[in-house]
């Protein structure tokens, strides 16, 4: 199947072809979903370079698993779940790497990697809300992003992050409170 041929297919046809090993069909799926997967990755890890790695790994994992994709959820929903899991794998890997003092010395701070001065950020991470989100600790940011941006339930969040439902609720509470204080502090009450 050529790339030109698969461009005309509907998503379920592309998924069906990809699950039979058709790389052109899978590439078309990647083309159609690259931006939303990358956006979710950026929101989860708050680092564009790392988000590239997360998005790439997510699509590779999807390729490996697409034969088991049953189609009871939308492909995009399935990709979101894979992306969230991949982001957490990368986070754990990064934590282990950061244990090496040399890596700690040379690692860029997260907030700096998202500073507007470096240019190129989109609405997903710029502006007061984006900055406030990226300043949150990863454990809080992931919960508020999944709940309030992607409308996941507390149960789904707890399952995917490997935490209890109560912990998910506590993190959401802390994240929203922190965002509220950042956006409507006495100093920028008017600007928020």
């Amino acid at each position: 199947m050529t790339q030109r041929e698969v461009e005309r297919f509907e998503e379920d046809q592309l998924v069906s072809l990809a699950s039979q090993g058709d790389q052109a069909a899978f590439t078309e799926l990647v083309r159609n979903h690259q931006h939303e997967v990358y956006t979710l990755a950026v929101r989860m890890v708050a680092d564009r370079e790392l988000a590239h790695d997360v998005a790439q790994e997510s699509f590779v994992r999807a390729w490996r698993a697409i034969g088991r994709f049953r189609g009871d959820a939308k492909f995009s929903t399935w990709m979101h779940r894979i992306t969230v899991n991949t982001a957490f794998t990368h986070r754990d890997r990064r934590k282990r790497t950061a244990a090496d003092p040399l890596d700690v010395v040379y690692r860029e701070p997260e907030s700096e990697s998202l500073s507007p001065e470096r240019g190129g950020e989109s609405a997903a991470i710029r502006g007061p809300l984006g900055e406030a989100l990226s300043a949150l600790p990863e454990s809080l940011r992931s919960v508020v992003v999944l709940k309030d941006v992607y409308e996941w339930s507390h149960v789904e969040i707890a399952e995917h992050l490997g935490i209890t439902v109560t912990a998910a609720k506590v993190r959401l509470h802390r994240a929203r409170k922190s965002l509220r204080l950042t956006l409507w502090s006495h100093r920028n009450e008017e600007g928020a």
Binding site: T27, H35, Y38, A123, Y150, L179
Partner: protein, 120 residues
């Protein structure tokens, strides 16, 4: 600010609407301008966060080529039982091998029949 205001402020970050605070606290918010203002901030925050779902960050142009490269590497490196392309090739090869076996068996039978026919 009274004790109810304090409780409302403590609980607002964890709820999706003022109604979720429960009867007494929700009723308090209806009569307290400070709590209404605070509830409005959280409502505004949730609405702005929900609005982010419509914004997308453009993926770097290198993403698709890097995915394709990774997949092609996997297809050439991973064990055969995990390789979709090779699995299909293996099925085709086994079909071809089956056909070859069948053809060989057929030849043997034909030769055997000819020999037995000549012997007779």
């Amino acid at each position: 600010m009274n004790a109810r205001c304090t409780v409302v402020r403590m609980r607002l970050p964890g709820v999706d609407s003022v109604d979720d605070l429960g009867g007494r606290l929700a009723a308090h918010v209806e009569t307290c301008l400070r709590c209404q203002a605070e509830a409005a901030r959280y409502r505004n925050l949730r609405r702005r966060l929900g609005g982010l779902s419509r914004d997308e960050t453009s993926a770097p142009q290198s993403l698709i080529p890097s995915v394709i490269t990774r997949i092609e590497l996997e297809e050439s490196d991973v064990p055969a039982d995990r390789r979709v392309g090779l699995r299909r090739a293996a099925v085709a090869a086994s079909a071809a091998a089956g056909a070859a076996v069948a053809a060989t068996a057929g030849t043997i039978i034909v030769v055997g029949l000819r020999r037995s026919h000549n012997a007779a």
